[in-house]
Amino acid sequence: MPDLHKDAPASPTGPGRAETGPPPEAIRAVPVRHYGRWAGAVVVLVLLGLLVWAFVNADIHWDVVGDQLTYHTIVEGAGKTLWISVLSMLLGVVLGLVLAVMRLSRNPVLTSVSWAYIWFFRGTPVLVQLFLWYYLSFVFDTVNLGFYKDEMNDVMTPFLAALLGLGLNEAAYMAEIARAGILSVDPGQTEAAHALGMSGAKTMRRIVLPQAMRVIIPPTGNEFVNMLKTSSLAYAIQFEELFRAGETISSRNLAVMEMLMVVSVWYLALTTLFSIAQFYLERRFARGSHRQLPPTPLQRLRSHLGSFRTPSRVGKVTI
């Protein structure tokens, strides 16, 4: 045992002034009783109990909820919700980055066009935009891209209308997020790159954007979680996503509330899954910027469990 102490670091009083004798006794004080906290908890638990009791006694066929949860129409709907969200988000991110760079360029035409785009797509409801795309055939009966020509009616499927409606709208929001990210990068970085003889485009791509990503990624994750939910609006233009799948079934089995619960469970599952993924993604991108990474929920849980066993310390923050 004495061997262990030989290598122990010097006490904070510094070398030459080491404490003599045994360390002072650890403080063992009677903790403050938080009666208010107890009362609050009781009130909330009672209200929660009443709510559960109400639902248990409500006229809800829980067996229907359980059965329909994995019904293939619902699962396919969830798949389509995920798919359209991913694609719309991709479109939004790419176009948003382009718009952000345009907005920050020194070309007045590009700046104005980007400004006008954001102004229009942020200033009108997504639902209206979805219908605008869906009914495009009312004003253009053919699509003519030079190399490609077809009837608008055949081209503008609910899928394409949903993708354009959600993706182009998202681009306007992503543009603002990306712009904030780009502006957050120290101008000294651009200067250093220019001084090395790098062109403006290369500086943006190699130096500025990778650093802007750290600022861009967290709000982009939030945008994606929002997109999962917003995509339900595409039900209005006949796109067979999760919400519409639920509606279709409830129009047959008349279990309206039950189907809404099934759908909600699926949305919750999707958003929860992506929130977890986002947490780990952000943690990854925080590398190099922080000396110490924030703990994962598992690590936090473990430390909390541990804290039950150790006596409370003076100055410890209670949450």
Binding site: D186, G188, Q189, E191, A192, A193, H194, A195, L196, G197, M198, S199, G200, K202, R206, I207, P210, Q211, G288, S289
Partner: protein, 255 residues
């Protein structure tokens, strides 16, 4: 001695809006010379350095590097602005070291040094990495190839920044207060690297407050105040026997 100086400034003016920051700078720096620039804060030292590699456009006068007009092309009496690509090509031959290092934080030391040779000169990755290893060894950082800037001390970061500038084989190096952001005990290691660079014959313009370095390494010392060169000459002469009151006042404050 070659006829054409490495840097020639003729009545260089620079304004930011209505504020005239440089008010007629005349200066010549010969090839192989180390010119140190001193002067009070706000006197335009950084602005002048930034004009030399066209990070700032001058508003009047002429500025030549190695006989070439910086940022412009002259045909007859007319000046034509250079294209971005031409400006970038001119900057390649001029290395710059900043007060705040400005290393790329998302890249390792080696990647910082390799970036411009690979992206600008099209050097192969393997060759660039070998070169980076050489350069980092030259600034005393052989073991830290794969360290990120955040894992390096200020002095180490500034030495990486010097290696990064050297990777483009510049014919001129500009230093803007390279040791001002460093803890005192780290200043020496950076100055040592610069001293060796000077001994190897690099042409350098160094804005600095390190009077010892200016005296020992500098071939000339330039004192700037309020956008003009007040006096210049051999460092020893300027430091021990300044001719102008303004120089004397400044030196009495910093020495």
């Amino acid at each position: 001695m070659s006829a054409e100086p490495m840097v020639r400034a003729e009545r260089v003016h620079k304004s930011f809006g209505a504020v005239e920051v440089l008010r007629g700078i005349d200066l010549e720096v010969r090839s192989g010379e180390v010119a140190c620039v001193i002067g009070p804060s706000g006197s335009g030292k950084s602005t002048f350095l930034r004009c030399i590699n066209h990070l700032e456009k001058i508003s009047a006068g002429r500025l030549y590097v190695d006989g070439e007009l910086v940022g412009y092309r002259q045909r007859g009496n007319r000046l034509y602005e250079m294209r971005e690509r031409e400006v970038a090509a001119q900057r390649r031959d001029i290395g710059m070291v900043f007060q705040r290092f400005n290393l790329f934080p998302h890249m390792t030391a080696a990647e910082n040094v390799m970036e411009a040779p690979v992206q600008v000169k099209g050097l192969r990755k393997a060759a660039a990495r070998e070169r980076a290893a050489e350069l980092l060894a030259r600034v005393g950082l052989q073991g830290r190839m794969d360290a990120y800037p955040a894992q390096l001390s200020g002095g180490q970061q500034q030495r990486v920044a010097i290696a990064r500038a050297l990777a483009m084989d510049p014919k001129l190096m500009l230093f803007d207060e390279p040791t001002s952001a460093l803890d005192p005990e780290l200043v020496g290691e950076v100055l040592d690297v610069m001293r060796r660079l000077a001994e190897e014959g690099m042409t350098m313009i160094v804005v600095t407050h390190e009077m010892g370095f200016a005296r020992e390494v500098g071939d000339s010392l330039v004192f700037m105040d309020e956008g003009v060169v007040v006096e210049s000459g051999r460092p020893r002469d300027v430091l021990t026997d300044p001719r102008h009151d303004r120089t004397r006042t400044f030196l009495s404050k910093v020495l």
